[in-house]
């Protein structure tokens, strides 16, 4: 195991975030605060409680999920896309490091960053709304698992992308809409049929629901379904990554 190699990549990726610490942290914190002002303050004050939870508190897990998904994807995808773009990938490919070790370095760093952001947003939200976490360990587990899974997904996008616009296309056209429609700001029980059933095909519903359960002991679907879905998606990403390295897809000719 080339532990030095993994650590080198991990450190490199973390250093990249620290160099841009201000925008890495300030952007999500400001965005989240705006959500609280708009949804929690302006709209939430006119809304009833959702499932016995104050609306401002209710949206916290969804907001964290939204950031977690988009940040995991963009961190990991830029991490591997950038060396491809600048040509420095030659060094990674010529290094005595296995593909899995490379993935651990890149995905580990991307997941670390988005978990840290998730916790920062959680801390920020306590400034705006009362919050209690029913299952803290489960909450952390969901946070880490989701960050890892979507960082893997981001890694795949980074390998696939052949331009900067392709890098942002998946988060912008797929992940953000799915998150908004995935019950980040409402319970899918609030939807009329057939939209409630349609929503069950949205994978993000399971992520938000499971994460919300860890806060309020209540979700749109059962926790088992949520965990099962994350596991399934993670397995798919791992299979795809294994195939990428085996075939050399867009990395090696």
């Amino acid at each position: 195991m080339n532990l030095h190699g993994i650590w080198a990549i991990y450190r490199f990726e973390m250093a990249r975030a620290l160099r841009t610490l201000w925008q890495s942290v300030a952007t999500p914190v400001i965005t989240t605060s705006l959500y609280f002002v708009v949804f929690g303050g302006a709209i939430g004050s006119r809304m009833q409680q959702v499932g016995g939870v104050n609306y401002g508190s209710f949206i916290v897990p969804g907001l964290i999920m939204l950031t977690l998904l988009t940040q995991s994807i963009s961190n990991a995808s830029i991490g591997i896309y950038f060396p491809k773009f600048t040509g420095t990938i030659y060094e990674l490919l010529s290094a005595p490091i296995s593909s899995m070790e490379m993935v651990i370095g890149y995905v580990g760093a991307a997941a670390t960053k988005s978990v840290a952001l998730g916790l920062i947003i959680l801390a920020t939200s306590t400034l705006f709304v009362p919050l209690q976490i029913a299952h803290p360990l489960a909450m952390i587990a969901f946070l880490i698992l989701t960050a890892l899974t979507f960082s893997l997904f981001g890694f795949i996008i980074g390998v696939w992308a052949q331009g900067f616009e392709q890098l942002s296309i998946v988060p912008a056209l797929l992940v953000t809409p799915l998150t908004f429609l995935g019950g980040a700001f409402y319970s899918i029980d609030m939807l009329p049929q057939p939209w409630r059933t349609v929503s069950l095909f949205n994978p993000v519903v399971y992520l938000v629901s499971g994460f919300r359960w860890s806060f309020f002991s209540k979700g749109d679907v059962s926790v088992a379904w949520s965990l099962g879905f994350i596991a399934l998606f993670m397995a798919l990403c791992l299979i795809l990554i294994a195939w990428i390295f085996k075939s050399g897809y867009r990395l090696k000719s």
């Binding site: 030095h4 250093a15 160099r19 600048t86 030659y90 060094e91 010529s94 290094a95 005595p96 490091i97």
Partner: protein, 316 residues
């Protein structure tokens, strides 16, 4: 010469997905501690060959062995021994010089060693710039950074892909000096170039590659003799039918239906024999109206080598 070569290629070929055949089954053995120059024009397959050995391009066929380790099955051990300086100036613009050297060392599986990195950067005149962002450096400095990265993990084999392409004279001299020092330390060096002089200056052995074929591999001195042939055409006032016996000392032949006398000589030799030949022509009262010397271009040499080899193959 050691029994086991430090690097050996057996039947290594590459066909790209586009169908382009970049490399024809290459067999090559590199000895420990030598400087080997791969000489060939642009697009000859030099970079493809290096990229395959370093793991950047997958070979279509053939096997590569690095000090006994198969470069595919046992790639970690094989690659840990190799450092690569690519042709392109691909560097992390936002990193500092010292950070990128440290990164490379760890990436290649070595524990940090600040003393070694310090010495390395000093050897490459980069120490004063260690905390500069790479983007602030000149092109020549960036190339030094690439060399520092390639040497950061103390490789046994160093690949230099066109090390002096687009590099100014002083850096080229420095580069040659550095290569000399590395050789003293026992590092095996394989470099590609399309300058004959560069191969001549540094290499122990030279391989000539063109159109994906390794045409020949030879000791430099033997090759330089072959490559160093020049010709001088002497346009005669009166055409001749035979070369006069008095001129048998020189390597002469008649061309252009006896209108020209062609003298082939070794440009590397201290005495070319031209002044004495011209004096002798005067003594013999052979009138000539023009002289033209030609240096074989690299292109001509390749053409010669190819036809020579084809003839040899036909003779077998």
């Amino acid at each position: 010469m050691p029994v086991q070569p430090i690097l050996s290629l057996a039947g290594v070929g590459k066909t790209y997905k586009s169908g382009h055949r970049a490399l024809e089954a290459v067999d090559l053995e590199i000895h420990k501690g030598e400087i080997f120059a791969l000489l060939g024009p642009n697009g000859a397959g030099k970079t493809t060959m290096i990229s395959i050995v370093c793991g950047i391009v997958n070979p279509s066929e053939g096997t590569i062995t690095v000090d006994g380790h198969d470069a595919v099955r046992d790639y970690k051990k094989a690659r840990a021994m190799i450092g690569l300086v690519p042709q392109e100036l691909s560097v992390d613009m936002f990193e500092t010089v010292i950070a990128t050297a440290r990164f490379s060392r760890r990436l290649f599986g070595r524990a940090p060693d600040d003393g070694y990195i310090e010495q390395l950067l000093k050897d490459l005149s980069l120490w004063d710039k260690r905390d500069s962002k790479i983007m602030a450096l000149s092109g020549g400095m960036k190339r030094r950074v690439l060399i520092a990265k390639a040497l950061s993990h103390e490789p046994d084999i160093l690949f230099l892909d066109e090390p002096t392409a687009g590099v100014d004279v002083s850096l080229r001299r420095d580069m040659w000096k550095l290569i000399g020092r590395l050789r003293e330390r026992g590092v095996t060096i394989i470099l590609t170039t399309h300058y004959i002089e560069e191969a001549e200056e540094m290499a122990d052995r030279v391989g000539v590659i063109n159109n994906g074929r390794l045409l020949l591999v030879d000791e430099k001195s033997a090759l330089m003799k072959k490559l160093g042939k020049r010709e001088m055409d002497i346009a005669l006032v009166e055409p001749m039918t035979t070369v006069p016996g008095a001129l048998s000392e020189w390597d002469l032949e008649l061309v252009d239906e006896g209108h020209k006398l062609r003298y082939t000589f070794d440009a590397q030799a201290e005495r070319t024999g031209i002044p004495s030949l011209l004096r002798k022509l005067g003594d013999l009262d052979i009138g000539f109206k023009d002289l033209e010397t030609s240096k074989s271009s690299l292109e001509d040499i390749f053409v010669d080598l190819v036809s020579e080899r084809e003839q040899e193959e036909a003779a077998l």
